[in-house]
Structures are given as structure tokens and as C-alpha cells.
Amino acid sequence: MIGNLLQGFVLVFQPLTFGLMVFGVVLGIIIGAIPGLTGSMGIILLLPLVYRLPPDTALVMLCGLFCGAMYGGSISAILLRTPGTPSASATVLDGYPLCQQGKAGKAIGISTVASFIGGMVSSICLILIAPQLAKVALKFQAADYFSLSVFGLTIMASSSGKSLVKGLIAGWFGLLVSTVGIDGIVGVNRFTFGNTYLMGGFALLPVLIGVFAVSEVLSESQEIKKAGQIVVQEIKGIIPTFADMKAITMAVTVGSIIGVFIGIVPGTGGAIACFLAYNVVQRWSKNGDKFGTGMIEGVAAPESANNATTGGALIPMLTLGVPGDVVTSVMLGALILIGVKPGPLLFVEHANVVYAIFSGMLVIQFLMLGFGLLCAKFSPQILRIPNKILMPVIMVLCVIGAYSLGNQLYDVLVALIFGVIGFFMKKYGYPGAPLVLGVILGPMAEDNLNRALLVSRNDWSVLLTRPISASFMVLSVLSIILALRTAHKDSKKAQA
């Protein structure tokens, strides 16, 4: 493994790869810092570039963007009281009060260091866990893959946000979307209505571009917004002192551990991890009652947690082909596009890609720390980029991203249609993540169930007699029960 990692470092430090990795991190920080732009949108904007790069270089760049965006969200959370990404929502609670006290530099410094530590912990976990999980996954058969995809689909329930039913509707709609086109086994047209374009089905990337990028631009166009109030104070005292580091040790440790675990669970992500870490650290801290007034622990916990989800989210994507969160689902689409199929065989067939990601993730954390601390002084400038210029440019980049997939305007129209669907989903409380999970996992579930039944000659018990498959089925049932209980509790709370 060490040899492979060293080879990964050799690749990462090649001029093109290193340059693009730096580009990814810096762009990620900028994208994350601008409210309304997210890591998934950043990856979407880079897709035309991804097509033309070697897979390992492309992925390292995307990982840089992923980590950079996760960290960048904290900048606007601290300076504007508006989280740049949903993953920085909990950072607002103590970050903005710190800014009001004239300690914006300190808050950004703590956020940078906590993000670095969370990212490092998750990268190390990725390196240690992923190869072992891939070894287990190599033993998977069709029935196991079906059960795994069912488990992934039940996660829809947990990622449903405020309404379980709305989340499930989004997910099942995604499943229906995934069935459009020629059936892979018998070759029958499904829901194509004689349209030759529909015979190829809906490609994943135009759907992702629509749901996550175009919908965002449409959302922003609802009204002409005035620019947010940007802090005019001098950003100073960025480097945390020894006393600061001592004060945040517990918060960073708890945040990192929670982040890694949340990241590994498919369908979750930084937004859940940051609040969970914030709540746990608040409960365990001696100064828990002062949280919300500008405690550095309140910045460190969510920031370490959200960056710790990055490596965690890559684990199921690389080893099982199941995305850990929205950004990794876009990455999964990009991987498939450049001819790399995620799953256990990735570790055998494209070991260079895997180890480049591992080594790259470690280097990225240092780049993020360096750029974060060095550029903190200029961070308010990032927030001055006006949305009224940025959004139309993003729309053009979305058009090109969808077009360059297959050089056809049909894909651009698909992106626009799904943009409109995504806009209404967002407006009326339907989460986008379950829709994407449905589109990704739907074909995986159908193909593997069919294969399992063909091999077992229609014996459905194969789903319960194989230990791996049975385990995933049990996990699926538990996941549903948990989601129902949470929904029940939430509705009781709402009634009270």
C-alpha cells in the first residue's frame, strides 16, 4: 500500500496534476464562499475540462474543489451570516457573533485549521478503510448488489429533509426517470413515445446539471437582490494561538469523528454532520451555555465535521459505486463519463486512479490550509463578486457543460427541463438528493435483481440466504424504521 501511495504522490506532484489541484482548491474556496454556489455546481462547471483530462488528474482536481468548497462555505457564514454552502449552516451560529465582536480573522483562522484537521482525519480514514471495504465488495454477487442498492434507496428516507413523503416522491420520481429508454436486457422501448432521443434515456449529467446548477440560477432570478452587507473590519489575528488550539481540541476531535461516520453513510453529507457535531460539542462542552455568542468551539466543531465528510463520502463511492452525498454523486457521474466505473474493481483495474485520489486528498488538505490562512485577508473581496453577473455566466457554462457531453443540444434541453423541475422541487420543499440517488441506483437495482433471479431461476429467497445480501436487507429495514420514527417525532414536535 505504501508503494502505491508513493506512486500516487509522484503523480500528484507532476506539474499538470499539481497545477490543476491548486486550481481546484482555489476555485472550490471561491465557489464555496459565494452564497448560492455549491461544490456540486463547481464540479458541474468543470465537467467540460474533466472530459479532456486523464482520469487521475481530473479526479484529483475535483477532490480539490470538493474540499475547497466545503471549507469556503464558512467564509460567508462568518462574514455575511449567510452560509456559502448548506454544510456551513451551523458555522453561522458562532462564526457571525465572532465577526460582530471584531474577531472575523480569528473565526476564519479557526475554521481553516478545523477544516484542515477534519479533512486530514477523513483522508486517513479513506486510505485505511476503502481498500478493506473494496476487498469485501469484490465478493459481492448480483443479489448483494441489489440489496446494497435497496439500502442506498432507503437512505432516501433519511435524506428527505423536512418531509419524508416529499423526499420519497423525489426519489421515486428519480427511479421512474431512470427507466426511460431502451431496456438493457430485453431491448424494449420504455416511455420513449417514439422519440429517438428518449431511446438513449436521460444521461445522468444533464439531469445533475439541471437539478443542481440550472435550478439554482432560476432560483436566484426570482427577484433582483441587493448585494449583502459585507464586513468592513480588518481581518487580523488569523493564526490560532496555542490557547485557541487547546480550547478547540475536543470540538475538532468530536467533529472529525462524527464527520467521517456521517460521510460514509450514503445519501447524507456535510449539512447533517455540521449540526450533529455542533449539538454534541455544545452538550459536552463546559461552556455549552455560551454557544451562539461567539465561541470558537462552535466554529471548530461544524467546520471539522463538514470537512471530515469529504473522505468519508468518497469511501462508498469508490468501493461500492454508491455516492456518499450530492457532490460525490456528481463526481460519480463524471467518473462514469470518463470511462472509470466506480466499485470494487476500480481498485484492481484502476489502482493508479485510486491511489492518486488517496495521495491527492492528503496534499489537498495542506493546500487548503495554506491558501485559507494566506488568503483570509482577501476573503471579503470574494464576496463582492456580483450575482447579477455571475449567474448568467454560470447559465452559459451549464449550457456548454451539457452540450459537450455528446455535442448535442438535446442534452442542453434536458438540463433546462430538469432545471425547471429542480426549481419547483426546491421552491416547494422536495429535496434534490433523493432524485439523484434514484437516477443512479435505479438501474443498479433493476439490473442486479434481474441477474440474481436469472441465476437462481426465479428464486427470490436468494436475497435473504446470502449473508451479505441479508445484512443489507436488515440495514434497509432499520433505515426505514429510523426514518419513520424521526418523521413521527418531527410531526409531533410540529403539532406541539
Binding site: P48, L49, Y51, R52, V165, K166, L168, I169, W172, F173, L175, L176, T179, D183, I185, V186, V188, R190, F191, V214, V217, L218, S219, E220, S221, Q222, E223, I224, K225, P386, K388, I389, M391, P392, V393, M395, V396, L397, V399, I400, Y403, S404, N407, L409, V412, L413, L416, G419, V420, F423, Y428, G429, G442, E446, L449, N450, R451, L453, L454, N458
Partner: protein, 151 residues
């Protein structure tokens, strides 16, 4: 929080109808003796959609029969549809007029739509971005962007 019962009721009904529609179409697909046929899986999804759509409508009725609420935000919806229409015309006209002609026009219109009233910056951004994007994608990434063609 915004009360969306009325919209939820009709969305649920729409999802239910979509489920029925998908079920009927999938029911006509080929049946196979072993494994699952091409229509079986979509039918399961269709049933799921019917159930979920029904639950959503029922929930909004049980919370108190939905009444028309407040004003529909027509202005913001119209602004969104104006952008969708602009984008649609942009995509369709790109087929004939090409990227270089349509993009600055679309960008200028969209920047105006987003509230920028400074014509100098609008023209500079729309022409500048178009040229940079064209150079980067065509020269560096070798993406074949649509060109002017009447046929």
C-alpha cells in the same frame, strides 16, 4: 413556514396520476418467464408513486381541507419563466446562429434580467465572457461548439 397545503394537494394528485399513467404503459410491455420483465420494475415504481402521491394529498386534506392561500407569487414565477424562455430561445437559436452570435446576446439579456443596468459593464462582460469561453473550450478543450449555419 410557508403553508403549501393547496400546492401539496394538487402535486399529490398529479403524482398519483403520473403513477397510474406509468402503470398502464408499463403493463403493456413484454412479459418474460424468468427474471423481471421490462415492465415489471416500472410498474413497482408506478405503484410507489401512486401510494406516495395519495399520502401527500391525504395529508394536506387531513391538516384541514386546503383553501386557496394568499397571493400566488406571479411576479417571481414570471421572472423565472422569462429566464427559461430566454434560455430556450438561446439553445434553439444556437443550432442555426452558432455560439459566437447567440451567447453575447443571451448574456446581455440575462445580465439585464438579473438587474444590472450598467450597459458598459453588460456589453463588456457579455462579449468578454463569450470570447474567453470560446477560446478555452474550442482551442484548449477542443469542444465543437455550434457554428453559424442556415442549414
Amino acid at each position: 413556514m410557508k403553508d403549501t397545503r393547496m400546492i401539496d394537494f394538487w402535486t399529490g394528485a398529479g403524482i398519483f396520476a403520473l403513477g397510474i399513467f406509468a402503470y398502464v404503459i408499463a403493463g403493456k410491455m413484454l412479459k418474460v418467464p424468468i427474471g423481471i420483465g421490462p415492465g415489471d420494475y416500472p410498474r413497482v415504481i408506478a405503484i410507489g408513486l401512486c401510494i406516495l402521491g395519495g399520502i401527500l394529498s391525504l395529508q394536506s386534506v387531513l391538516k384541514g381541507f386546503p383553501k386557496a392561500q394568499g397571493k400566488v407569487p406571479w411576479k417571481s414565477i414570471l421572472r423565472v419563466f422569462a429566464l427559461v424562455l430566454m434560455s430556450f430561445i438561446y439553445i434553439q437559436s444556437m443550432r442555426y446562429l452558432g455560439f459566437l452570435i447567440t451567447t453575447p446576446v443571451f448574456l446581455a439579456a440575462a445580465i439585464y434580467h438579473f438587474g444590472n443596468r450598467n450597459w458598459k459593464s453588460t456589453i463588456a462582460v457579455s462579449v468578454g465572457v463569450t470570447l474567453v469561453v470560446y477560446f478555452v473550450f474550442v482551442s484548449l478543450f477542443q469542444v465543437l461548439l455550434p457554428r453559424f449555419s442556415l442549414f
